[in-house]
Symmetry: C2
DNA sequence: TTGTAGGCGTTATCAC
DNA sequence: GTGATAACGCCTACAA
């Protein structure tokens, strides 16, 4: 069933049908009704491929979500999709797992679909090198800093990770903690190293020593990763009184592991997280954490992208505010 | 940049370029290399719209996810996308929030894109009536039963919710609980009413009375919903010794609320959940729950859909096994 | 082995 | 207001 069939059945030309279906004004009411009736009768709709082939301007924005398990990213995704709905664009979503390479995927999609732009929800600037340099459409990385990529097309919106981790670490120190363990990602990840830096400078400015080999455990950003790392950490360094975890998921995993080993949180050991996931407010104990404000991240991210797309604004790297959540997972010690 | 430009630059005809790009055998190696080199140099790829316009067979499957916040669904989504990648189909994803109408959205997409089929991750059979009846392509609802819809195109894959909730409730009863509260959805939702039915029949067969008005609290399937309902429940019926929550999220919310009110779980009150989310194994206490096996749900769901698409198999409603997780959130009482 | 040309379903620009 | 007709980018007989 094509526009042609409709035209034939209607006894008119295809142009007329097209005009009706595209709400062009220059069609007689009479004809319009007639066409509409037949269209309705067959439940006919225009072929999207043909339209887009013709109307050579795709208005699609591709959203690439890294790690389906992150509640933060899913909240963002929903918000952004909702916003785009009200704009003259469409959005398509690709969900990747931790091991996929978002840069490669984006590059493939770029050539296949020629979207207007990309939004990366999570994902690492590290993966946005190499092939991705060929992608010459505006993109924005949300929740991570991407200035290190040095691309003319890639913007980013994130919180000040350094300051945030500084704040958390400072809070631990202020509460009397001196022997602090860290559960974080490998330091070749920009985000992990930035958070580590912030943590470290808080300790340094408080005159607290930190022994990397003894007190830093590398883990995956997940419940399981946090739990495993917590066990390794406590066994090689049983004196620690607090743990700085680089994500809420890790923090929760760590809490679980500590409880399993007979330590109570925060009575026996304090834990701080990072992200401010919904669950962190329902977990027992409520997590002390850094909340990334979804609304802020989502709307700023989209704004930056649209500004690049519509006004050819140069790429930029925005910092949005975060919130320190006091929670209940840190105990004051002497 | 089109096939034509490549041909010109290459000094050959567009047919040759097309053949190279489609891996046709009848091209001289010489020519092939030459074309490939130029294609590579420009990073050129064929226009998807034009191909599909021509090859009139769209191979797209649309996945509609209801409620971005569910970890269960997101795990499923990732698995299904991965599976489809290895098949001669593409998949596109739409994420809806709790308030959207998945039936309406699917209907719109059906007419706009004419996909091969739909996969609903979560969502309610209730919403798949009405307009959705016009959607004449195979679809499958995953994690809920859809036989009640009575559509010839809509299959479903789910666990036996009745048996699962029976199992949970039975476990509570076996552990000495007689005064049990329920935190569930409104009973006009098929899933909630089925789970309630299973719960009830376990109580009945154990000779335990259940007073709906006094002991059933309607809540949203979320942490917050569970927490609010738990507070209402305990204030109107402080004698309960256990709570049957219809989702892990609700159960976690309830645990949080109980702790806030000074009740310890499971010492003072027992809680069972439903879903078997990853967090349920990390929460403190570990949740007693029903695990829906993602792998099973994902692969069965896709199989059912593909069987309908490829072999015109009639729609069917499959039951996949669940797992009862004992956890630590139920205490044996006398 | 390679080039040519018609057509996929639509839109838009012409005439009429 | 309406009807032809030429693109859009690609594939594929068919011809050379």
């Amino acid at each position: 069933m094509t526009i042609k069939d409709i035209a034939k059945e209607c006894g008119c030309a295809i142009g007329t049908v097209s005009r009706v279906l595209n709400n062009h004004p220059d069609v007689s009411d009479n004809m319009r009704q007639k066409v509409l009736a037949i269209v309705e009768k067959h439940g006919f709709v225009l072929n999207t491929n043909a339209r887009q082939l013709k109307a050579q301007d795709r208005k699609n924005i591709v959203i690439i979500v890294k790690g389906a398990s992150s509640t933060l990213l899913n909240g963002l995704l929903e918000k952004i999709q909702k916003k785009i709905e009200n704009l003259p664009y469409t959005a398509s979503v690709v969900v990747l797992d931790e091991n996929d390479n978002e840069g490669l995927v984006a590059t493939r999609i770029y050539f296949e679909q020629k979207p207007l732009g990309f939004i990366f929800l999570g994902g690492s600037p590290k993966k946005l090198h190499g092939d991705f340099a060929k992608v010459h459409v505006p993109s924005v990385l949300i929740s991570n800093q991407a200035s290190s990529v040095g691309s003319d097309f890639l913007s980013s919106v994130s919180i000040d990770n350094m300051k945030a981790s500084f704040t958390s670490a400072e809070f631990l120190v202020e509460n009397g903690h001196r022997k602090i363990g860290v559960i974080g990602g490998a330091l070749d990840s920009e985000i992990s190293s930035t958070r580590y830096e912030g943590f470290l400078s808080a300790l340094i400015s408080a005159g607290v020593h930190f022994d990397f080999d003894k007190s830093y455990e590398i883990a995956k950003y997940s419940f399981e990763g946090g739990a495993l790392a917590a066990k390794r950490l406590i066994s090689k360094n049983p004196e620690i009184t607090a743990v700085f975890a680089m994500s809420d998921a890790m923090a929760i995993g760590a809490c679980r592991a500590f409880q399993d080993l007979g330590y109570k949180v925060p009575q026996d050991i304090s834990v701080v997280g990072f992200d401010g996931l919904t669950i962190s407010d329902y977990f027992c104990p409520r997590l002390t954490t850094i909340r990334q404000i979804e609304e802020e991240l989502a709307s700023e991210g989209l704004n930056v992208l649209l500004d690049s797309i519509e006004n050819k604004a140069p790429c930029c790297h925005k910092i949005v505010p975060f919130e320190f959540i006091k929670g209940e997972s840190v105990k004051k010690i002497d």
